[in-house]
Symmetry: C2
Subunit: 457 residues, 2 copies
Amino acid sequence: MAIATALTELSSLLGNRLSRSKSDLAEHGRSETHFPLTPPDGVAYPETTQEVKELVKICASHDCPVIGWGAGTSLEGAGLAIRGGVAVDFRLMDQVIKVNQEDLDVVVQPGLTREELNLYLRDTGLFFPIDPGANASLGGMASTRASGTTAVRYGTMRDNVMAAQVVLADGRVIRTGSRARKSAAGYDLTGLMVGSEGTLGLFTELTLKLHGRPAAVSAAVCAFDDMDSAVNAVIATIQIGIPMARIEFLDTATVLACNAYSGTDFPAQPHLMVEFHGSDKGVADDATRFGEVIADFGGLGFKWSAAEADRNALWTMRHNAYYACLALRKGARAVVTDICVPISRLAEAVEETRDDIAASPLDGPILGHVGDGNFHAILLVDPGDTAQMNIALQLSERMAHRALRLGGTMTGEHGIGMGKLGYMAAEHGDGWSIMGDIKRALDPGNIMNPGKVVKLN
Amino acid sequence: MAIATALTELSSLLGNRLSRSKSDLAEHGRSETHFPLTPPDGVAYPETTQEVKELVKICASHDCPVIGWGAGTSLEGAGLAIRGGVAVDFRLMDQVIKVNQEDLDVVVQPGLTREELNLYLRDTGLFFPIDPGANASLGGMASTRASGTTAVRYGTMRDNVMAAQVVLADGRVIRTGSRARKSAAGYDLTGLMVGSEGTLGLFTELTLKLHGRPAAVSAAVCAFDDMDSAVNAVIATIQIGIPMARIEFLDTATVLACNAYSGTDFPAQPHLMVEFHGSDKGVADDATRFGEVIADFGGLGFKWSAAEADRNALWTMRHNAYYACLALRKGARAVVTDICVPISRLAEAVEETRDDIAASPLDGPILGHVGDGNFHAILLVDPGDTAQMNIALQLSERMAHRALRLGGTMTGEHGIGMGKLGYMAAEHGDGWSIMGDIKRALDPGNIMNPGKVVKLN
């Protein structure tokens, strides 16, 4: 009723950019993973910050939930309208506002995707390095504090969002941060908004750090006899201080899935894939040193290449790994896990997880950004098979508690969304209620992506 | 009255570790800069988190302000008890709790100073790089989001505090963050606490990132004909991507002050001081490339050294620069400024500031961490000379607004304390009231360092 009134007013505001078509609602109710279809009541396509502001004010006055929507690539259902309301799709706000080449930063609208940004930057000598795999929107990436393959070198969205424009729950528009490289001017509101999954406000503008495109890039791939050797090789590489831009682990099941999906012919063994950024000489040195380290752990078939085509093939394969895993089992959906532990506990975490999955009836390929201590098991389930789903969720829960026991976190980069809310109390204790206090202070009506991240009374 | 009751109860809790001696009160009421003596009503020396918790509960029940105190090196009076209350001096909580060598992190108590930490780490091959000059406590550094000479390479406290234990205003103790290198698990409470200057809680434990001690370090110093050339050389160096660990600017007045104070004999010209971290070959290459860049800007007398004694002499001189400037004028106190702008606007910001100071009757040496776009003018005033103080404050105010006009911040690293509160509205707009909302949510009684950072009704 209240939502219906809001939709009527939103139609007046946005005209045909407020959609209630079945296909639009379904598109904005789907999930990349195992969550059931959860369509919103309407989809708004604002073109300006001013429209977002008006839109939020209308929703606030009618207690209508407001849920940001980027590229729809969340793995935890962060954008699903679990209490109904309006999905705010930022696809029409996808402009590069300004590249500040001398300062290595760029101001963008939130609907721009990371690949679009890098295409735009192709002649500048600069690039935006954060790479979660999916061609996510930058607003979505900021909302979930995304990272991915390059975080070991370039950090996460926490480290790369310098400033933001945010529309708050009462329609106020604030600017957080600045283009200065550092500041000690009060509470870090940019850092608070990044990772808040749209529960405190909606990004309408982001200022992002850029990085100089490396003069040379080399990539290497290497097989190991077993998972432990591969993981221990990573730990040794990190501890010896070889500066990697990427270091990825794929277990045998993932390698086989990728071979089938991408037509590659890697041996049926666990693999590491690495990338080095630097000068011609630097990356060659790094690759050679890495080759020496992995030899100590029985690394086999080590080869590296500075040729772009080889690298592209390798990372395309890696980026498709999730879909390759899904394709292992026709019609399967996935419960995706995402734990991150201190590097010294990584082998233990991966081993226990592998054993736990092996003792279950499910397939669960393991892969991850092991340079950060972060890895995923892709737990495959047949949709509608409740018994399988329960087993997957139990495996996922044990992984979360394993991460906490080992001094880590239950989500390295995917965020909380719907899938990880149940572990927030275990991870944060009273800190979680403090998050709730902050939410209540900024969004007393609980209209911004309600039901995510925090639990209100 | 209420405070008196709190002090009585605190005496029962802490015995002679609750001090009301005149000398203790005076020590905790002094400032490194121009703020008048502002003694608290008592000084507490807790030994454990549990004691801090009890202490805060007592203060909360009697509306008694609680102000954290580290090494007393704040330049903005962040630790002054402007509404009375209890200074919580962490000097007895100065232990290294655990070095996690494999994970490159360390857990410490907040009273430990950065130099004490590095002394402790001397045989590990690791170090804690953040260097604000003063031998500040790590709790104080986290509270003010400190940085300093090495931020251009290693970031600020925002980037190097991984996790914390915090005692909140109601006596609850929370743990924020974890030892995982990244996390997407909800709001970034660690980031919120870092830089909040004790207004949201008191740090009782910090987990800090460590870094591998570089195999080689080289330092270089170089004079320029004028300030603009030096600043433009910095911009070119940054843009060309030479990886510097430090790049510091000293104007002629600062150089002369240092010569007089430290017995050096640098020419009466603006100088840059830089440091490179890496391999033997790497730092030699970096120094050579830097020499080529500065030659384009008329850099004179360029010399570099990888010898530790030379470097130590150089950085000792730099660290004493503030005291050297103060010594320029017998009995002077300083209004210290701290603006930070995008690097492309740095020359403009420094030039305008120089001209503004030159047009005033005050001495105001300029120096700073120019690799971040951050610099300070040390405005010297005779204590008690109100006219001079007003001129200094007006110069400071114009600097703050200059920084904002150029897309920067009015404080790069010193924080807000008492000195910069007046510019918060200009820098943050409605964002400042959001900070107030957060403060009210976490500290409704406004007992944690009241009167700092935020303005409550």
